[in-house]
């Protein structure tokens, strides 16, 4: 909690400091396709079929000189049969909402530039269908697959290319760090997890 508070204060302070020095611009991030490499826990414990899943996102950011604040949402999904025999797959959806502070070093090179970012967010894991019935040895077990949420932090690095002067394409790599309470035969363990996102973002200046 202290870490999140410090991060939020830093974000606000950064925006405030930059606003005194430069005009404001607003960009919409219309399309953010990416690949997510999930933490191995998802395959080893939760039985997800593969670690790499596709994600789509959108967002907006307010730029103040070399600084900007962005708000974005991402949606990804994976499938799992929980490693069970004879059980249909269910979909595990990842819903991320994140806010981040970006800084672009003043080093433009022929329409190319770079940007780094740090931020925080909220992740929700949701299964569809929200329950399963599985059978072992003739005994049916009904399991309700509830929703799980957790706070996340992330770091990102971007390579940007200007398009027509008012749009940019960003090649973005980010690492999301978070903890999840994971049940085990010996009790609930708080596990630190890390996902890797690699994707593109199209940003259009609207103001």
């Amino acid at each position: 909690m202290i870490q999140r508070t410090v991060l939020a204060v830093a974000l606000v302070a950064g925006v405030h400091g930059a606003a005194t020095a430069a005009p404001v611009g607003i960009q919409l991030e219309l399309l953010q396709p990416s690949l997510v490499v999930l933490d191995p826990m998802y395959t080893e414990t939760a039985g997800v079929d593969g670690r790499t899943v596709g994600a789509l996102g959108l967002g907006a950011n307010a730029a103040v000189g070399d600084w900007s604040v962005a708000l974005a949402i991402d949606r990804a999904s994976a499938t799992t049969d929980f490693g069970l025999l004879e059980t249909p797959s269910v979909r595990l959806a990842f819903a991320d909402t994140r806010m981040e502070m970006r800084w672009r070093p003043p080093l433009p090179l022929g329409g190319w530039s770079a940007q780094i970012a740090a931020g925080m967010g909220r992740r929700t894991l949701r299964y569809s269908p929200p329950s399963i019935d599985f059978t072992t040895g003739g005994t049916t077990t009904h399991v309700v697959l509830g929703e799980t949420s957790t706070w996340t932090r992330h770091l990102a690095a971007e390579v940007l290319h200007a398009v027509h002067g008012n749009a940019w394409i960003a090649l973005r790599t980010s690492w999301t760090f978070y903890s999840l309470d994971v049940a085990s035969p010996t009790g609930v363990l708080r596990q630190p997890l890390r996902d890797l996102h690699v994707g593109l973002a199209l940003r259009v200046q609207v103001y």
Binding site: A46, G83, I132, G138, T139, T141, V144, G146, A183
Partner: protein, 532 residues
């Protein structure tokens, strides 16, 4: 992570598609792998993987929670490789590991039989070294590993091993380990004292009689609802028979034997107690009840399998950790892996146990005789002649032939019997029988259906009145092959299934056969053609 090019994904790729009967199905349709063969191993992994797989075993754990990840399951598949002198094992998604002589203080000669105890110990017979090796599944690391525990020397050609849980899968102290010693024609019984195994007694000697074996090859423990019963089954290779033993005062005792057409290369009991026998030279798998009734042969007959040598029935610890959850239980699955000859066209095959209604006939005024291949929830729907429909829940019925009484089942009616697998409600079978009210004016022997057939056919006939009837199958030379029925029957239509075998259970060759009905002073013969 499940890599599509990893052998052990195959153990978990039981698809959701339900099979209709006892038959092989695609192992991993989403990856285009119907059968995992030597050619598939080369294509997917660029190596042969195995030289001569001899035995296989599957062990799993399933944990259920009230929070993420809600359900967690882990499986381990182990295969013994007699020629490359090692075990190959792994969890789905992991690269397979080898366990060989470098992983323990002794050397493997020819590892063959494998059996998991519910607590994760793995017992391995080593035929040429005359040894029983005890390993343990270590789950403390990121990936499960086999760890050497101990071994016992001095056995004579140990071929197969089975673990009796003492009827208490949750308790390891009362476990007994049974080893087939082919060279001494006997079964050795061991108990664990700490990490060591101690021989308690032996059963059997060389010979063809009771309490005797001739090169026994395989052993299995009877089961009921996952736990071991007091029955032990031995594949007596040289005598071509399946032997049933029982525990009497802590020792094995002879009970009965059933003749087989040839040696059984493996015998295993599923969760509900049905026995599965592989017959390598016959390319067949039989399903046999503990009382020695052959209830099914694998669909597809000789074309379905290639020299099957072992069966792995997945058993798992299921533990519901939720408040009020059921206690831990040791449970077996309704799909099994069949290990065939390791060649370019054969290898590891997935087989559904399924459920079928083998035969259905009226055996009395309000009584039906039916044969189930597996235990099932059964129900009957009776459509009366006036159109009224009455449904009866017959409860859970055991595998094998049995009679059920259905109140009000008299006169003309159409009876549809439905059986739902205890493993999976999606697996169902049904059969309809039309009961005639007015008896035919004379004895009628209908043609067999199908005709030609391979290898099973149904012969039906109708009687104008109750009386004695005999239905017998003869071959083209007039030799009596099999008597399908001899006894009293009520008036009406009756159905009998001939499975293409003679009285001793031997499969008959292709050719012309004759079904003869003798009833009420009539004698009628019909020609049948078997085309294998």
């Amino acid at each position: 992570m499940r890599k599509p090019c990893v052998f052990w994904m195959l153990t978990l790729l039981w698809s959701s598609a339900a099979a209709e009967s006892f038959m092989a199905r695609s192992l991993a349709p989403e990856h285009g792998v119907d059968v995992f063969t030597r050619a598939e191993a080369r294509r997917l992994m660029d190596r042969d993987l195995l030289a001569e797989p001899a035995g296989s075993a599957l062990y799993g754990t399933v944990d259920v929670y009230d929070r993420f990840p809600w359900v967690e399951s882990h499986w381990i598949a182990v295969t013994s490789d007699a020629r490359w002198q090692r075990l190959l094992y792994g969890a789905p998604g992991d690269a397979p590991r080898a366990f060989g002589s470098a992983d323990m203080p002794i050397a493997f000669g020819e590892p063959r039989g494998l059996a998991f105890a519910p607590d994760g110990r793995l017992f391995v017979t080593d035929r040429t070294e005359g040894r029983l090796v005890v390993l343990r599944l270590d789950r403390s690391g990121a990936e499960p590993r086999l760890v050497y525990v101990s071994h016992v020397d001095g056995l004579v050609q140990p071929m197969d091993v089975a673990v009796h849980d003492g009827g208490t899968p949750l308790v390891a102290d009362d476990d007994r380990v049974l080893v087939v010693e082919a060279g001494e024609h006997r079964i050795g019984v061991f108990a664990a004292e700490g990490d060591r195994l101690v021989k308690l007694h032996e059963f059997g000697s060389r010979g063809p009689g009771n309490s005797e074996f001739l090169s026994p090859r395989t052993v299995a423990i009877g089961r009921a609802d996952g736990a071991c019963t007091d029955q032990v089954f031995v594949g007596d290779s040289g005598n071509h028979r399946l032997v049933r033993l029982a525990w009497r005062d802590g020792r094995l005792a002879w009970e009965a034997a059933m003749d087989l057409p040839m040696e059984a290369t493996s015998v295993d009991a599923d969760h509900h107690g049905n026995l599965l026998l592989t017959m390598r030279r016959r390319n067949d798998v039989w399903k046999v009840t503990p009382s020695f009734e052959v209830v099914a042969a694998m669909a597809g007959g000789a074309r379905a399998l290639a020299a099957p040598r072992d069966i792995a029935i997945p058993f798992a610890w299921v533990h519901d950790h939720r408040p009020g959850g059921a206690g831990p239980a040791w449970r077996g699955e309704g799909s099994v892996l069949v290990l065939e000859a390791w060649k370019d066209a054969s290898g590891v095959r997935l087989v559904d146990l399924g459920v079928e209604i083998g035969s259905l006939r009226r055996s009395g005024n309000a009584e039906l005789e039916l044969q189930l291949t597996d235990p099932a929830h059964a129900s009957a729907e009776i459509t009366q002649s006036d159109g009224r429909i009455v449904r009866h829940d017959l409860g859970t019925l055991a595998a094998g032939t049995q009679s059920v009484t259905i109140p009000g089942l008299d006169g003309a009616a159409r009876v549809t019997l439905a059986a739902v697998s205890l493993y999976d409600a999606a697996r169902q079978a049904s059969k309809t029988l039309v009961l005639e009210d007015t008896a035919p004016p004379q004895v009628v022997l209908h043609g067999n259906v199908p005709n030609p057939f391979n290898p099973m056919t149904t012969i039906s006939f109708a009687l104008p009145a109750a009386g004695r009837a005999a239905l017998t199958v003869f071959d083209a030379k007039g030799r009596r092959v099999r008597e399908l029925w001899s006894g009293t029957l009520p008036a009406g239509t009756h159905e009998f299934v001939w499975d293409g075998r003679d009285t001793r259970g031997r499969a008959m060759p292709s050719g012309v056969y004759f079904g003869r009905l003798q009833a009420l002073e009539a004698s009628i013969v019909r020609k049948m053609v078997m085309a294998r």
